[in-house]
Symmetry: C2
DNA sequence: GATTTAACTGAACATTCGTTCATATCAAAG
DNA sequence: CTTTGATATGAACGAATGTTCAGTTAAATC
C-alpha cells in the first residue's frame, strides 16, 4: 500500500522538518531515530529519504535555516536613531524572535557537536555573524560616548547569553507578558553598558 | 585474560567517571557508547558494570556530583559584608568555579533531557537551590536599598545565564586572564542591578 | 481509459547498542 | 602453598540503528 490518500508532495516535506525539529529539541539528535520521525509524520522510515539525503542533512538544514532566518530578520529591521535606540531594538528583537521558536533555538545551541566538521563551520560562521552585529552596535556606542564597555566583543557575548537565557524559563501565558520581559531585560542591558 | 596488571580497585572507578565526563561533554550522552568509555579506560565494556549499574546512573551521578559540589563550594565560602559585597563574591565564585570544570558544566546544562524523570527531578531541584541562593542575595540587596531590580527571580536567571556564558568563549592562556574576566563581568553585573 | 510518474511501503542489509554472565586471572590472606 | 575474593575478559543476547531498493499505489496527464 502506497500513497494511501491524496498527493502529499509539498506537504510531507514540511511535516518531516517539523517533526524532526520537535523531536530533536525534545530528545536530542542522537537519541531520535529516523523511524520515530517517520512515525510522527505517519509514514514509513524509507519515505523520509524523499525529503532528505540523510539524517545529518536534516539536522544541518534545520540549524542553517534558523540562523539565516535570524540574520535576515534582524537585517530586515530599519535601524533608526543612535546606538542606544538600536541596542534597545536589538534587545527586544532578540527576545521576541527567540521566544517564538524555542525548539529551533534549543537545537541551534545544543546540537552543534553533532554536526559534521564542514556543517559545523557553516553554522558557526552564521553565529559569529550575528554576534558581530551586536558587537558593532556596542563599539559604535562606545565611539559615540553613549556606552562604556571595556571589551565590546565580550559584552556582546554576555548580552546574548543573558537574553537567550529567557528561553529557559519564559512560557507564553505565564505571569509576565513578553513586552514586560522585554522591558525588564532592556533595563538590565541598558544599565550594564551605559556610559 | 583478566586483571592484566596489579590491582585496579580504587583507580579504575575514577577513570571510568573521567572518561565518561569527557566523552559525554564532547559527543553527548546518547552518542557515546559504553564500549567507547571502556576503550578510553583501557578495559572491556563488561568491566564498566563493576562501577556503575548502568549508563544512565553514570550520567546521573556525574550531574548530581557536580551540582552538589557547586552548592557545597558556595556554601563553604564566608559571606561577609553587605549585599553588594556578597554579590561580587558570587559573581567571581561562579565564573571561577565554572571555568575550572567546563565538561561538567556542559553536561549539567545539555544532558538534562537524557535523565530519567526521577533523576531529572533531583538535578533540577539542585539547580533551583543554586538559583535561589542568588535570588536571595538580590532580594536582600533590594530590601537594603543597594539594588534596584523589579524581579529578583528573573534577574537571578539573567545573571546566571550571563556568567555561565563565559564558558562558551573563555580559554585559559587566552588574551584575558580569569581575574580580568571576573572584573569585566562584575562591572556589568553591578551596573545592571545597582540602585 | 491508458500511460506515466511521484510517493510510499515493507523487507532487508550490515552494524551497533546496553547489558549479562560463565570463566579466567591475579593479589592478598591464612 | 592454598584459599579466597575482587577484577577483568570475551562471547553472547535481543533489540535497534541508518540506509537502500524493488515493488506497489494512486494521482496527474494524455
Amino acid at each position: 500500500m502506497a500513497r494511501t490518500q491524496g498527493s502529499h508532495s509539498g506537504i510531507t516535506g514540511p511535516r518531516v522538518r517539523d517533526a524532526a525539529l520537535r523531536l530533536f529539541a525534545r530528545h536530542g539528535y542522537a537519541a531520535v531515530s529516523m523511524r520515530q520521525i517517520a512515525g510522527e509524520v505517519g509514514v514509513q522510515a524509507g519515505a523520509l529519504y524523499n525529503y532528505t539525503p540523510d539524517k545529518q542533512s536534516l539536522l544541518f538544514e534545520l540549524m542553517r535555516g534558523h540562523m539565516e532566518e535570524l540574520l535576515a530578520a534582524w537585517d530586515g529591521l530599519p535601524q533608526e536613531g543612535d546606538a542606544m535606540a538600536i541596542l534597545e531594538a536589538f534587545t527586544r528583537f532578540h527576545i521576541r524572535f527567540h521566544s517564538e521558536r524555542p525548539d529551533a533555538v534549543f537545537i541551534a545551541y545544543m546540537e552543534l557537536r553533532n554536526l559534521t566538521p564542514g556543517n559545523f563551520a557553516t553554522v558557526e560562521a552564521l553565529r559569529r555573524d550575528y554576534e558581530n552585529r551586536l558587537e558593532a552596535i556596542l563599539s559604535r556606542g562606545v565611539a559615540q560616548g553613549v556606552f562604556r564597555v571595556p571589551e565590546p566583543k565580550i559584552a556582546a557575548m554576555a548580552v546574548i547569553a543573558m537574553l537567550t537565557g529567557v528561553n529557559t524559563w519564559f512560557r507564553t501565558g505565564g505571569r509576565l507578558s513578553l513586552p514586560e520581559v522585554e522591558a525588564i531585560y532592556w533595563d538590565m542591558v541598558r544599565r550594564a553598558v551605559s556610559a
